[in-house]
Subunit: 381 residues, 2 copies
């Protein structure tokens, strides 16, 4: 596809190339109706740094939030019934298999607070999503970081060996799959093999924040284990595919015994009423996931084409972001992008020659493509 043609004819036409539904998607991509990518946060820059969904709330979710405000003065405890109903139906699980949190990060917090302890180390990949580390850090319990494989998968063999070498004592294993910040998969069959063999004192905390974006035959959800294994917790979120990062809603799917233990550590009166309403409406918005996936695929294609053209290495992404080489100092690259009104990435040591780029709308990715090509012209990249 000709990217200049895309810019000229606008986003709707660009999307039509991928989805055949340009006219239906076009209103969602317009910032005018209050549903589009939204205002951005810093000096009107375009935020391609936080793995957010550029489509914003779905129109149905927006209406549901506004309708819910009549109850904004009420504590939420008696309002979450319909959400639990819609969510358990969507997942095909029972009520006792689910609990809600203020984003999947609260699920991670609850799990770290509930299971990690003086005799229970937390075992994580490096690099991976930082929130579990933030929650562990003030507790001063053991944290064990295991570098990713050369393929940027979790090094399950080495993680298993580490737990084995500690005498198989109770541990919490954090598996972010697909992994943030690399966007890469750890083959689900390998995860399954470990779960199948592990003693139940090894707790698997599987973060599937990007589950809905992944499309690969080697990948499936760890939810399949929740009937048989009390030591598997799957964390999911409404922040990504549902475009609700600002409303704060996530959930855990697990064996009832694990859910009960998580609930001991929940912050009272979650979820908030607007998030509750938006999530319920989003689950019933049949085309929402497809729209988000289609826009994301279009943006990914723009980024792939650009990086290929520039000969910049990138990792295979199964998410709404991508990790790519920058050929030079990362902070300088980011500063220069910021000067162009584009916020891209942050540090993810030890990958200090790579930038994590979130996928915005196709039009936003065209702006990024134009900027990075200029950088090449100036010999900056």
């Amino acid at each position: 596809m000709d990217r200049r043609g895309f810019v000229t004819t606008g986003m709707a036409a660009g999307l039509a190339g991928v989805t055949g539904a340009g006219s239906a998607l076009a209103p969602l991509l317009s910032p005018r109706n209050g549903l589009g990518r939204g205002r951005t946060s810093v000096n009107d820059a375009i935020r391609l740094s936080s793995n957010e969904n550029p489509l914003g709330l779905s129109p149905a979710a927006r209406e549901a939030v506004i309708e819910s405000l009549v109850n904004a003065n009420r504590y939420p405890f008696s309002f979450s019934g319909p959400l639990y109903e819609a969510l358990t139906e969507h997942l095909g699980v029972k009520r006792e298999n689910v609990t809600l949190g203020a984003g999947s990060t609260e699920i991670l917090r609850m799990a770290v607070h509930a299971w990690s302890g003086p005799a229970v180390p937390l075992v994580v990949a490096e690099p991976t999503f930082e929130d579990v580390l933030d929650y562990q850090s003030p507790l001063s319990y053991d944290l064990i970081k295991v570098p990713l494989t050369p393929d940027h998968a979790h090094d399950l063999a080495r993680m298993r060996q580490t737990v084995h070498d500690m005498g198989n004592r109770p541990s919490v294993i954090y598996l972010c799959n697909p992994n943030n910040p690399t966007g890469t998969l750890t083959p689900s069959a390998e995860v399954d093999a470990w779960i199948e063999d592990a003693p139940e004192t090894v707790m698997f905390l599987v973060d599937e924040a990007y589950y809905e974006y992944a499309d690969h035959p080697d990948y499936w959800s760890a939810i399949r284990w929740i009937e048989d294994k009390p030591n598997v917790i799957v964390a999911r979120t409404f922040s990504k595919i549902y475009g609700m990062a600002g409303l704060r809603l996530g959930y855990a799917v697990a064996h009832p015994s694990a859910i009960r233990r998580l609930d001991d550590f929940v912050c009272q009166n979650n979820p908030n009423i607007p998030a509750n309403a938006a999530a319920t409406a989003s689950l019933k918005d049949a085309g929402l996931i497809e729209r988000s996936v289609a826009v994301n695929a279009e943006s990914k294609e723009i980024v792939h084409t650009t990086l290929d053209e520039l000969g910049l290495e990138y990792l295979p992404s199964e998410t709404n972001f991508i990790m790519h080489r920058v050929n030079g100092e990362l902070s300088t690259y980011r500063d220069r992008m910021a000067e162009r009104g584009l916020l891209v990435g942050r540090d993810f040591p030890p990958m200090m020659d790579w930038n994590r780029l979130s996928f915005g709308t196709p039009a936003e990715m065209d702006q990024w493509a134009s900027a990075i090509k200029d950088f090449r012209g100036k010999g900056w990249i």
Copy 2:
């Protein structure tokens, strides 16, 4: 004031009797414009059981929430600047003296997680607000309950003696002032005397959720200590006077060292964007507190008059609820009220002959008054 006259002429006229501003308040009390008391939660009952503000969100806050939804797909971290600015100005404190949580309950959670431990007991009144107990319960650390005085104040002398008898070892002292569920004050001069004498290893967690409703010469905020004492944390909320219980926003005011320690235990990405927007707008809504206080006073007067007429004992309330005798089985009383469409109270052991009644709108309290008078006619109360 003639209560029948009040019912007949409507809420605006009733409010005018107290505030002289009936015409300004009337629209706020109408359920028609989506700003009033809101739908209620269970079978269309009126909820007088959760100490909520019956006025709902302020119109300015509602508008701000709707405007904020364009950013609902963005993580909140870069959106809280204006709220911190408005809040620190409102409180007259510095930025480093404040942190936000998902309701004041998250402040309580963070404090329990940050300070309580194997060698650090939690000392609380009985009865008091239950959330601290919920957060402490899975930790299996020592919990010490000290009954209220006959005046329903915290028994500070006995609490102090308890800490002293443990060799003044580190402790967390939870003081809910005014106290929930009793609505009563603990004289601030007595609290101050203990804070002044206590070693800094004794952490005071002062819950001022109902601060704005209290109006008594013996009561003032513990915020006065935050410059000098690193061991005083004040928890406040937007759930009560600001009518935002469903949005989840609270805050801690404390010495910077205490704020930093609390922040180690915060759930990432709080506060959510609608709560952030509503709180900022509410702080700038000059008449909001006065309106909430005026409506509450009017409702309290209706309840006082009714209980006096029936000769039912009640505690002096400095909050938006009241504890009163029911002369009979508490659960039977509640069930009968529920049959009349009124949800009132819950169990607060050991006060099992008392019901905690939240103040709704004056019209709602008239419904309650009518019901409880009928109960007297039937010999039920």
